[in-house]
């Protein structure tokens, strides 16, 4: 048992911190305010290997592990949760399922461009009537010669507007329920595919969350990902990995909030004292840092088991459940320590509190995580 990071991971942390501080942090307020996808930052992320962290070198990736990936998402999210989720959705929800389930041809064709950031990836499972009840898929895929014809609409898709490649879940056999779902690699230029309405969101406002619309969308048969009928299982496994990324994002938001609050309370004077000198401030921050550390440990444990190729679904669910709720709680309490200034858009804590909330909802709500954990506990 060793809680210390390896020298390699420490040097990665050094790189992540430098990159996040110099390249991501200065853009964070603007990305939020203008709801603009940071294309230029993503290009730089690609250049320095952030878009393919767990991808093998043979496919243009960095050849690092999932712990290294989680640490990157945390470091980016510490200063800009939008940038954190762009990398997380791209890596966990598009790159990873191709890595795990793709044919040699699919990996060669898609992984290289995704891992270098030339292409951005996204994932389409959620529909208007299929949120937590993901099995209620209405999108259909019907074989037609060398192709499948896809029809349906996906909702709340992260990276939608900026992506080139989408993993789309659709029903190939409605009679079989979840065993009738299949996964497809869909390119944005495929006939019949379009990106729909952009959501106006409370937080992570730069991340381009939109509808995906497929109207008689023609997808070549070689773009079936995995086997027909295994799409639901593939989606659930994909989300297990995704939850490590979102847990890391939540840890990043929480730690970022604590860090700026520590700086703030050391400067803010009330009653002739720095407010950091009040025991209430100290106890609040001590409590929050303990929570953030616990969240990080759960996140690293999930990444560790994922790297060891051991079952990690419940570990990932616990990490995401705890980290996301910690992020919401911590950002709210940090804003309280900022007082009136915290409610102003002049200060980043206001953005962080808005950004934190989504981590309790996407890639499985807190309630879904509890369902996963309880099922692993065999409580039913």
């Amino acid at each position: 048992m060793d809680f210390a990071l390896s020298k390699k991971h420490l040097l990665l942390q050094d790189l992540y911190t430098k990159f996040a501080t110099n390249e991501v942090k200065p853009r964070a307020a603007e990305v939020d305010e203008e709801e603009s996808f940071p294309h230029d930052t993503v290009a730089k992320l690609g250049r320095y290997g952030f878009m393919g962290i767990p991808v093998a070198k043979a496919y243009g990736g960095a050849g690092a592990d999932n712990l290294a990936y989680a640490m990157a998402v945390e470091a980016l999210s510490k200063v800009c949760a939008t940038t954190g989720v762009i990398v997380s959705a791209h890596t966990s929800l598009c790159v990873a399922p191709i890595m795990e389930n793709g044919t040699a041809e699919q990996k060669e064709k898609y992984l290289r461009k995704l891992a270098t950031g030339e292409w951005v990836g996204a994932f389409g499972l959620t529909e208007a009537g299929a949120g937590t009840d993901a099995a209620g898929q209405q999108t259909t895929a019907v074989p037609d010669g060398d192709n499948y014809i896809l029809n349906g609409t996906k909702l709340f898709i992260t990276n939608a507007d900026a992506a080139h490649v989408y993993i789309i879940i659709a029903m190939t056999d409605k009679a079989k329920g979840t065993r009738g779902c299949s996964a497809f690699i869909v390119e944005k230029d495929f006939p019949g595919f379009s990106v729909g309405k952009k959501e106006k969101k409370m937080g992570i406002r730069g991340s381009a969350t939109c509808e995906l619309i497929m109207r008689d969308c023609i997808v070549p048969k070689e773009n079936l990902l995995g086997k027909e009928g295994q799409g639901f299982k593939l989606a659930m496994q994909t989300l297990d990995g995704g939850r490590v990324g979102i847990a890391a994002q939540a840890v990043g938001i929480a730690q970022g909030a604590i860090d700026i609050t520590v700086n703030y309370v050391k400067e803010r004077m009330q009653f002739g004292k720095r407010i950091s000198q009040f025991q209430n401030t100290q106890f609040e921050l001590a409590d929050m840092q303990t929570k953030a550390d616990a969240a990080r440990l759960l996140c690293h444990r999930a990444a560790f088991f994922e790297d060891k190729k051991k079952p990690f679904a419940s570990h990932a669910a616990m990490a995401k459940l705890f980290a996301s709720e910690a992020a919401s709680d911590i950002t709210r309490r940090c804003l309280q320590l900022h007082g009136g200034y915290g409610y102003s858009r002049e200060y980043a804590i206001e953005r962080m509190m808005r950004d934190a909330k989504i981590t309790e909802i996407y890639e499985g709500t807190s309630e879904v995580q509890k369902m996963v954990i309880a099922s692993h506990m065999k409580v039913n």
Binding site: L11, K18, F19, Y48, G49, A62, G63, A64
Partner: protein, 262 residues
């Protein structure tokens, strides 16, 4: 082309503490970085590698913990790394350091050597030029721009009030200024390679003795003697005036006149 880049790991602060007994720096507990001018040297070498192709060996003389500075250089894209580390080299001044580094350069082979202008913990700016003298090669210090081709290098050499454009054929040594370029980040894959694929080769005196006589290394090979080290203390207390800009100008003029500067 074979390029050697010499780097030094330095404390990331001007607030270094001195060991009053020996007059040397206490490095423990102070975060370390690659010396900024040296980082520019690495970037200059990588830029040449990008355009012409080159094999870059980054070299540092220092304690074992300098390993991380060399790994950082590898993670930026350098090809090989050597750490010159041996008790025999301890206490070296610039003469002994440059003798040792020159020995390593002879061992490794080179067309171009790039060093930083000076280290932020010593500020002598002597090691690079001394290396060139030991090796008997040309050197161009204070490079603010470097253009290289397969046969020669053209360097813009900075002075306070002008610059020189100097050309030299290889082998040559150049000292880099931090304003030469904007160093690239490490890459994620580069860090992975720095630990999983590449190694830091350790050089001890036994590896260099063919090239460097023992009387030129370490404390004994250092002609410099530290008489006294101290932190400068302010000569008087500062004055704080909260006044308008015009009043401030007037106060400053009167002060300068009072000290017969104006």
């Amino acid at each position: 082309m074979k390029i050697i880049v010499c780097i030094k790991q330095v404390p990331n602060t001007n607030e270094v503490k001195l060991d009053q007994q020996t007059g040397t720096l206490i490095r423990e507990g102070v975060p370390s970085i690659i010396n900024p001018d040296d980082l520019a040297g690495i970037e200059a070498a990588l830029a040449i590698k990008d355009s012409l192709g080159a094999h870059i060996t980054v070299v540092s003389m220092g304690p074992p913990q300098a390993d991380i500075a060399l790994r950082e250089a590898l993670a930026m894209g350098c090809d090989a790394a050597c750490l010159i580390t041996d008790r025999a080299f301890a206490g070296a001044d610039t003469w002994a350091t440059s003798s040792t580094l020159a020995g390593a350069a002879q061992l490794l082979g080179y067309d171009l050597i790039i060093t930083g202008r000076q280290a932020i913990d010593g500020d002598t700016a002597q090691v690079g030029p001394q290396m060139a003298e030991h090796l008997g090669i040309a050197h161009i210090p204070y490079a603010e721009d470097i253009k290289a081709d397969g046969e020669k290098i053209i360097v813009t050499r900075q002075f306070e009030d002008r610059y020189q454009l100097l050309q030299a054929h290889y082998p040559v040594l150049v000292t880099a200024l931090s304003e030469l370029n904007q160093p690239r980040y490490m890459s994620v894959g580069g860090v992975v390679d720095a630990y999983d694929q590449k190694e830091v080769r350790l050089l001890t005196y036994a590896d260099l003795e063919t090239f460097v006589p023992v009387e030129n290394i370490g404390l004994k090979g250092s002609p410099t003697r530290v008489k006294k080290s101290f932190t400068k203390s302010p000569k008087g207390k500062g004055e704080l005036h909260q006044v308008s800009e015009d009043e401030a100008v007037e106060i400053i003029i009167q002060k300068l006149k009072g000290h017969l500067i104006l």
